[in-house]
C-alpha cells in the first residue's frame, strides 16, 4: 500500500513537471501551428537563470537572505525566458506560421545555437544549484515520504495551471487568444490583432518553460542539453492530450507521468520508455486526434 502511494506521488510529481513543459508547447502549437523545438532550451535558460541568481545572491546579498533567492528566481526566470521568447517570435517564428514541419527544423537549429551559447557562457560540464534550506527535508503522511522539493513543484505547477486557466477564461487578452486558436480569420475580422496575440502567447509559453527550468534545478544538475531530455516526452503529452486544450494537456501529462513511473517501478526505465511509446501508438488508434479535440467540419 505504501509502495503504491509512494509511486502514485512520484508519478504525480513527474507528471506535474512534464505538464509545466507541455503547457507552453500546447498553447503555441494550438494557436500558431508552430512546433517549437527550442522550447527545451527555454527550460535550460530558466535553469541557468536560477543558477545565476544563486551566484549573485552568494556574492552580493547577506547570507541570512540566501534562502529567499529561489522565490525571487522564479519570476526572474519567467521574465527572462518570456523576453527571449518574444525576441525569437519577432525574429524567426513569424516567418514560419502554419508551417509546422519547417518550423520544427528551424527551431531545432535555433536550439543548437542556444545550447552552444550556454556551453560557451557556463561551460560544458553540469552545474549544481543548491536548494534553499527550507526545501530540504520531507513530510510523512501515512508512512509515505513526501519530499518538500517535490511538493513545492506540485504546488508551483498547480498555481501555474490555475493562473493560466484564469488568464484564458476570465481575462480579455486570454479570451482573444482562445478566439484566435479556434478560428483565426474570424477572430481577425472581428478586430482582434492576431499578430499581437501570437507574440503574447509565444512569450507566455516560453515563460512557462523558464519556470519549468527553475523547478528542474530542484531535481538535478543543469547542463546545456538538459531541455532535450524532456522535450520529446512533452511533445508526446501534447499529441496524447489533443492540441491547444489545457484540459487535454493536463490529462495527457497525468497519463504519461503515472504510466511511466509505475512501469519503471515494476520493470526498468528502458522498458518504461517502450511501454509508454506503445501505449501512445495504441491510444492513437482509438482517438487519433488526442484525448480532447475540437469538433470541426474542416477537412484539412
Amino acid at each position: 500500500m505504501e509502495i503504491l502511494l509512494t509511486q502514485l506521488f512520484n508519478g504525480l510529481s513527474y507528471s506535474s513537471f512534464l505538464l509545466l513543459i507541455a503547457l507552453g508547447l500546447s498553447i503555441t502549437f494550438g494557436l500558431m501551428r508552430v512546433m517549437n523545438m527550442a522550447h527545451g532550451d527555454m527550460i535550460m535558460i530558466g535553469a541557468y537563470v536560477t543558477y545565476s541568481v544563486q551566484l549573485i545572491f552568494v556574492s552580493m546579498v547577506p547570507e541570512s537572505l540566501f534562502d529567499y533567492y529561489f522565490i525571487l528566481s522564479i519570476p526572474i526566470a519567467f521574465i527572462v525566458t518570456a523576453l527571449i521568447g518574444l525576441l525569437v517570435e519577432k525574429s524567426l517564428i513569424r516567418f514560419l506560421y502554419a508551417r509546422p514541419l519547417d518550423s520544427l527544423l528551424a527551431t531545432w537549429g535555433l536550439s543548437l545555437i542556444f545550447q552552444q551559447i550556454a556551453r560557451m557562457i557556463f561551460g560544458a560540464p553540469n552545474v549544481a544549484v543548491t536548494a534553499p534550506s527550507w526545501l530540504n527535508g520531507n513530510v510523512e503522511i501515512a508512512s509515505v515520504v513526501l519530499p518538500y522539493k517535490r511538493l513545492f513543484i506540485l504546488v508551483l505547477v498547480c498555481l501555474c495551471v490555475l493562473g493560466l486557466y484564469y488568464y484564458l477564461v476570465k481575462t480579455t487578452a486570454g479570451r482573444r487568444m482562445n478566439a484566435v486558436t479556434l478560428n483565426r480569420p474570424m477572430a481577425a475580422s472581428l478586430g482582434i490583432n492576431t499578430r499581437k496575440v501570437d507574440a503574447t502567447a509565444f512569450a507566455l509559453g516560453s515563460g512557462l518553460g523558464g519556470v519549468a527550468g527553475c523547478a528542474l534545478t530542484l531535481l538535478g544538475p543543469v547542463g546545456p542539453t538538459v531541455g532535450t531530455n524532456y522535450i520529446i516526452d512533452a511533445f508526446m503529452i501534447v499529441i496524447l492530450g489533443g492540441v491547444g486544450k489545457i484540459k487535454g494537456t493536463v490529462l495527457g501529462a497525468l497519463c504519461i507521468g503515472l504510466l511511466s513511473t509505475f512501469t519503471e517501478y515494476g520493470t526498468s526505465a528502458t522498458i518504461a520508455k517502450v511501454v509508454v511509446f506503445a501505449f501512445i501508438i495504441i491510444f492513437l488508434q482509438w482517438k487519433p486526434s488526442g484525448l480532447i479535440s475540437t469538433r470541426t467540419r474542416v477537412l484539412d
Binding site: 506560421y97 518550423s103 527544423l105 537549429g109 535555433l110 545555437i113 545550447q115 552552444q116 511533445f235 477537412l299
Partner: protein, 358 residues
Amino acid sequence: MAKSTKISFSILFLILALAPLLMSDFRISLLAKFLCFAIIAVGISLIWGYTGILSLGHGVFFGLGAYAVGMYLKIQASPGGIPDFMQWSGVSELPLLWKPFANPVFALFMMIGVPVALAFIIGFFTFHNRIKGVYFSLISQALVVVFVTLFIGTQELTGGTNGLTNFTTGFGVYLTHPVVQKVLYYITILILLLIVLISLWLTQSRAGKLLVAIREGENRVRFLGFNPTTFKVFIYCVSAAFAGIAGGLFVLQVGMISPEMMGIIPSIEMVLWVAVGGRYSIFGAVIGAVLTNSAKTFFSESYPDMWLFLLGSLFILVVLVMPNGLVGVAQSLYAKWFRFKTSKKAGGTSYDANTNLQ
C-alpha cells in the same frame, strides 16, 4: 527523366569513380562514408520531398541495418563465437537472437528486413489512422528515443553504449585491408547508383506521381479513389530499406556502430542533408549529403566550437531562405542567366507551404 538530371548524375558518378586516383586513402574512406549517408538521403528525399512526410526517425532504420551486419561481423571477430561484451556480462552461450546472424546471407537479408518490418508496423498504425504532418514527425522522433534507450539498456545483447566494434574479417576478407576498402568504396558507388536509378524510375512512374499528389492534397487523392495509406506505408518502407542498406555498408567501412550514431541528432541531421541539397530532387539529396558532411568534417577538424553554430544557422537558413536547397538556388540562377531558354522549366517544383491556417 529530365536531361539536366541525367547530365548531373553522369558527371557526379564519373567524379566519384575517378576520385580514388586523386585522393588519399583516408579521404576516400571518408567519401565512402558520405556516400552511405547519400543513400539514406535519397530515401528521405522520396518520403519527405516527394510525399511530404517528415520522418525524424531514420536513424533507427540506419542503426538496425548497421546492427544486423555488425552482429555478423562481431561473431566472426570473436574467438569461440561469443562477443567480448557478452563474456563481460557473464553470458556463456550465444543468445538465440544472435545465432542466425552467424550466417552472412541471413545478416544481409535482415539488414533490409528488420527496418522494413519496423517501418511497416509504425507506418501502418499511424498512416492508417490519418496521423500525419507534424504528429507523425514527433512520433518518429519518439521512436528514436525508444530504440536508443532500448539498445543502451540491453547491454548484454547489444553491447550497450559502446555498440559493436573491433571487427576483423567478414565475408572471408580482412575489412581494414586497403584493397578491401577500395572495393567497398566501389560497391557503395554501385549500390548508390542502383538506388538512384530505382528512385528516379519510381518518381517517374504513376505511383510516384501519386506520392506527389498525396503531398499536395491527400484528401483529394482519397476522393479520387486511391488509398493514400498504402502508398505512404510503401514509400516509408522503401526509404527504411535504403537506410538499412546504408547502415550495413557503413558498418563494413567504418567498423563500428553504437546507439549514439542512430540518436536524435544524427536522425535530424539526415533531414538537414536533404534540405540543404534540395528536398524535391534526388540529385539534391545526394550532393546535399556529401557536401554537408564534408563541411562538417572540415569544420569539426578546424573549428569544433563553430560547427554547432553553423549547423544551427544552416537549419534556419535552409528553411527561411532556400526552401528548395542548393538545387533550387542553382535552378533559379540558371533561369536568371538563360531566361529566354528556360522560362517554363525554372519554377519546376516550387511548393507553396503557406497554406491557410484553418
